[in-house]
C-alpha cells in the first residue's frame, strides 16, 4: 500500500465532547483504500466513539470524519460492513430471516441475500441451522452469523470492532481467513482489537489512541521505530541491577528483564558479569506491539482487555 494511494477514510481535527467531558481531542488520521488499519487503545481511550462518529451514529463536536470524501450516510455510495463491539441480533427469529433482512437493508435483493446467506452458513459449518431460532444457537455460532452479516454485500469498507471476542481458536482462525479474503479483494478494513498478534499479522498501519488523543500512528515498523527502536531481553536467575548510565529497565517479568540500552552491548555485558549476573539469553530485538501496548497503557490495561 503506497503513500500515494488515496484515502478512503479521512479524520481531521475530530473532537468529541459528552457534556463537559472531552472524550476525543483533536484527532487526525487517514486510512488508505485497500489497507488494513488497526485502531488500538485501552478501554475508554475513544476507539468506539471514533468509529460511531465516523458512521454518523454520533455527531462530532468538532472537526470532520469523511468516508470517500463525504460524511457517511446510510444511503451513500460506499458499501459498509460493520461489526460493533456491543453486538447482538434478533433472538426470536430464524437465522436465515435475520440474515436476509440485513442483506435487504444493505441493498441486496431478497433472493440474492438469501442465497448468499445460505452459502455463508455452509462455509462456517452452520448449513443445518438456517431455520433455527437464533437464541437456540451457542454464543460462538451467533458470533459467526454476526460476522456474516458484517461481510455481506462485499463491503468496500469493513469495520470490525473486537471481531474475535468470544471465538475459540478454531473459529478465530476461520474469522482471520474471512478477513484475509476480503483484504485480497481490496476491501479496506478497520480493525479494532487488543490482540496484538492479529494486528502484526493483518494490519498495514496502526493508530494507538490514549485518553482520546493520538499516541502512535504509522506502519507497524514506523510505530516500533517511533516508540524507541530496540530493546534488550535478558533472561537470568539473578536480578539485573539498575544502572542509569548504561540502560533503563523497562520491566521485569519473572526471570526476564527488558532494558532500553544506552551504551554499547559489550559495556553492558561487562557490567552484568562484574555484577555477578549470569544469563541464559541476551538478545537485542525490536519491541513487539504487545510490549509497546503495555508500555503505553501500563500492564493493567492489558489485563483489563
Amino acid at each position: 500500500m503506497s503513500k500515494e494511494t488515496p484515502p478512503l477514510v479521512t479524520v481531521n481535527h475530530f473532537r468529541m465532547d459528552f457534556g463537559k467531558k472531552t472524550v476525543i481531542k483533536d484527532l487526525s488520521f487517514d486510512i488508505r483504500k485497500g489497507e488494513t488499519f488497526g485502531l488500538l487503545g485501552s478501554n475508554g481511550s475513544g476507539k468506539t466513539t471514533t468509529i460511531r462518529a465516523l458512521l454518523g451514529i454520533y455527531q462530532p463536536t468538532g472537526g470532520e470524519l469523511l468516508i470517500d470524501g463525504a460524511p457517511y450516510t446510510v444511503d451513500g455510495s460506499v458499501r459498509l460492513g460493520y461489526l460493533p463491539e456491543e453486538r447482538g441480533l434478533y433472538k426470536k427469529e430464524n437465522v436465515i430471516d435475520i440474515m436476509t433482512y440485513f442483506g435487504q437493508l444493505k441493498g441486496m435483493k431478497r433472493s440474492e441475500a438469501k442465497e448468499w446467506s445460505l452459502n455463508f452458513l455452509k462455509r462456517v459449518d452452520l448449513g443445518n441451522e438456517a431455520s433455527t431460532r437464533l437464541d437456540k444457537l451457542s454464543g460462538g455460532m451467533q458470533q459467526k452469523i454476526q460476522v456474516g452479516i458484517a461481510v455481506m454485500d462485499n463491503p468496500q469498507l469493513l469495520i470490525l470492532d473486537e471481531p474475535a471476542k468470544g471465538f475459540d481458536p478454531v473459529n478465530r482462525r476461520l474469522l482471520m481467513d474471512i478477513i484475509e479474503e476480503h483484504q485480497e479483494q481490496g476491501t479496506t478494513v478497520i480493525f479494532v482489537t487488543h490482540q496484538m498478534e492479529e494486528v502484526e499479522r493483518l494490519c498495514d498501519r496502526i493508530l494507538l489512541l490514549k485518553d482520546g488523543a493520538r499516541r502512535l500512528y504509522g506502519t507497524v515498523d514506523e510505530v516500533k521505530d517511533e516508540f524507541g527502536g530496540q530493546v534488550l531481553e535478558i533472561v537470568s536467575d539473578q536480578q539485573v541491577p539498575t544502572n542509569e548510565k548504561l540502560y533503563t529497565i523497562e520491566r521485569r517479568e519473572g526471570r526476564t528483564t527488558m532494558l532500553t540500552p544506552k551504551a554499547e552491548m559489550l559495556a553492558l555485558q561487562r557490567f552484568l558479569l562484574s555484577s555477578g549476573v549470569t544469563y541464559s539469553r541476551f538478545e537485542l530485538k525490536r519491541p513487539s506491539l504487545d510490549d509497546i501496548f503495555v508500555d503505553v497503557y501500563g500492564p493493567s490495561a492489558k489485563e483489563e482487555n
Partner: protein
C-alpha cells in the same frame, strides 16, 4: 425513507409468525363463541323445559283451592285431583305419588306447597319448576292477550322525534359511526401500547441497534415500526371481527340476536371525518409518546412504569364521562378536551354525542398535530442518543445538550 418497505415487511411477518399474536387475536371471537354457546344451550334448556311439561314421567297429584289451574294443562301432565293437602302429602310419603302440589285459595298471600320424592339435589327442583309453569301458563290462558302482553313486558314501542329542521332524529343510532373511532382507538392503544414499547426497546435489549443504525436511518426504523404496528392492529381487528360477523349471520336465529340493519345507521360525513382525524392524530401522538419512552429507557420493563402513567392520563377522563353528556361547557370538560394527554377520549366521545363544535374540533386537532410533530421529533432525537445507552436511562438534559 429508503428501506422503509423492508422494515415494515420484516416487522409484520415476524409478528404474524408469533403464536401470541394469534392467541390474542382469536381469544376474543373464541370467548364470544363460548358465551354464544352458553346462551344457546341455556335458551334451548328453557325451551325444552316448557316443551317437556307434557313429557314429565312422574305421577302427580294436585289440590287447587285457587281454581286457577287449567284442567287442560292438568290433563297434559296427567295430574290427578286430590281432595286435601294432608291426603296428598301422605300419598307422597307412602310412595303412592311421586309429587303433590297444593295451590292455596289466595296465591298472592299464601304459599304454594310442593311435595315430592327425593330424586337428587339437582333434579328435585323439577317439582317446583313444574308447579310454577302450571300456575303461570294457567293464569296466562285465562287472561286477555293485550293484558298478558303488558304484564309480560312484551309490548313493542316505536318512538320518532324530529329535529328543528323537521328531519327525523336518528337518536342513539347517530352515535355509532363516529363512535366506532373511539372503540377503535381504545382497542389499538390497549392492544398495541405494550407492543410499541417492546418493539422500540427490542433492538437495544438485543444489542442489534448499532448494526441497524449503520445500515438505515433511525427515522426509517421508527416510522417502519409505527406503520407495521398500525397495519398489525388492523389485521388483528379484522381477525377478531370476521369470525364474530360470520358467527352473527350463521347463529343469529339460534341465539335470538337482534337484527342489524346497517342501512338504518345514519352517517354524518362531517362527524365521521372529525372522528377520523382525531383518531389518527391521537394514535400517532400516543404511539410517538410510547416510542419516546421506549427510546429513553434501557429495557421494556423499565419503560412499563412510564407507560402506566401515560395510560392513566389517557383513560382517566372516562371517569368524567357523564359530564361530557351533560356539561360540555364546564371547565373540567374543556380542560380535558384541550390538554393533549387527556384529549383523545373526550374529543372522540363528545364528537360522537354531537356536542363538539367545529371550532373546538379544529383547535383541538391543531393542538394534537403540533404536539404529535414535537413528540415524534423528540422521539427520533432521543432514539438516536438513547439507542446506544444499554444500561441507563437518558436524561432530558443530555438530549437537549447534545449536538443534533
Amino acid at each position: 425513507m429508503h428501506n422503509l418497505g423492508t422494515v415494515v415487511r420484516f416487522e409484520i411477518v415476524r409478528t404474524l409468525k408469533k403464536k401470541s399474536f394469534w392467541i390474542a387475536a382469536l381469544a376474543v371471537p373464541v370467548i364470544a363463541g363460548m358465551v354464544g354457546l352458553i346462551i344457546f344451550f341455556s335458551n334451548k334448556t328453557t325451551d325444552d323445559q316448557t316443551k317437556n311439561l307434557a313429557n314429565e314421567q312422574y305421577s302427580l297429584g294436585i289440590t287447587d283451592e285457587s281454581h286457577l289451574i287449567s284442567d287442560q294443562l292438568m290433563g297434559v301432565v296427567k295430574a290427578q285431583k286430590i281432595g286435601n293437602k294432608a291426603e296428598g302429602e301422605a300419598a307422597v310419603k307412602l310412595g303412592k305419588l311421586d309429587a303433590y302440589f297444593y295451590y292455596p285459595g289466595n296465591v298472592s298471600k299464601e304459599t304454594v306447597q310442593v311435595y315430592g320424592k327425593d330424586v337428587g339435589f339437582f333434579k328435585n327442583s323439577r317439582y317446583q319448576d313444574l308447579a310454577d309453569q302450571l300456575l303461570k301458563q294457567s293464569a296466562a290462558s285465562k287472561t286477555d292477550p293485550n293484558l298478558r302482553a303488558i304484564l309480560q313486558g312484551t309490548t313493542s314501542y316505536s318512538a320518532t322525534t324530529f329535529t328543528s329542521d323537521g328531519q327525523i332524529d336518528k337518536g342513539l343510532l347517530k352515535l355509532i359511526a363516529p363512535g366506532i373511532f373511539l372503540v377503535l382507538f381504545y382497542f389499538m392503544i390497549a392492544t398495541f401500547g405494550n407492543q410499541i414499547l417492546t418493539s422500540i426497546t427490542e433492538e437495544k435489549e438485543n444489542r442489534v441497534i448499532e448494526m441497524i443504525l449503520a445500515t438505515i436511518k433511525p427515522t426509517t426504523l421508527l416510522v417502519g415500526k409505527l406503520l407495521s404496528l398500525i397495519l398489525l392492529a388492523f389485521i388483528q381487528m379484522f381477525t377478531i371481527l370476521i369470525p364474530i360477523v360470520i358467527g352473527y349471520f350463521v347463529f343469529k336465529n339460534q341465539l335470538s340476536l337482534p337484527n342489524l340493519d346497517l342501512a338504518s345507521i345514519p352517517i354524518d360525513p362531517l362527524a365521521v371525518s372529525i372522528s377520523a382525524v382525531i383518531f389518527l392524530l391521537s394514535f400517532v401522538m400516543f404511539a410517538g409518546i410510547l416510542m419516546t419512552i421506549g427510546a429513553a429507557m434501557p429495557t421494556a420493563k423499565e419503560a412499563g412504569g412510564f407507560m402506566g402513567a401515560t395510560f392513566a392520563l389517557l383513560f382517566g377522563p372516562l371517569y368524567a364521562a357523564p359530564l361530557f353528556f351533560t356539561s360540555p361547557e364546564s371547565p373540567v370538560v374543556q380542560f380535558l378536551s384541550y390538554f393533549p394527554l387527556t384529549a383523545p377520549i373526550p374529543l372522540l366521545l363528545r364528537n360522537a354525542i354531537g356536542n363538539l363544535s367545529l371550532l373546538e374540533a379544529g383547535i383541538a386537532s391543531a393542538i394534537l398535530l403540533i404536539v404529535t410533530v414535537i413528540v415524534v421529533r423528540i422521539g427520533v432525537r432521543i432514539f438516536r442518543f438513547g439507542a446506544l445507552e444499554y444500561s441507563r436511562k437518558l436524561s432530558i438534559k443530555e438530549v437537549i445538550g447534545r449536538k443534533a
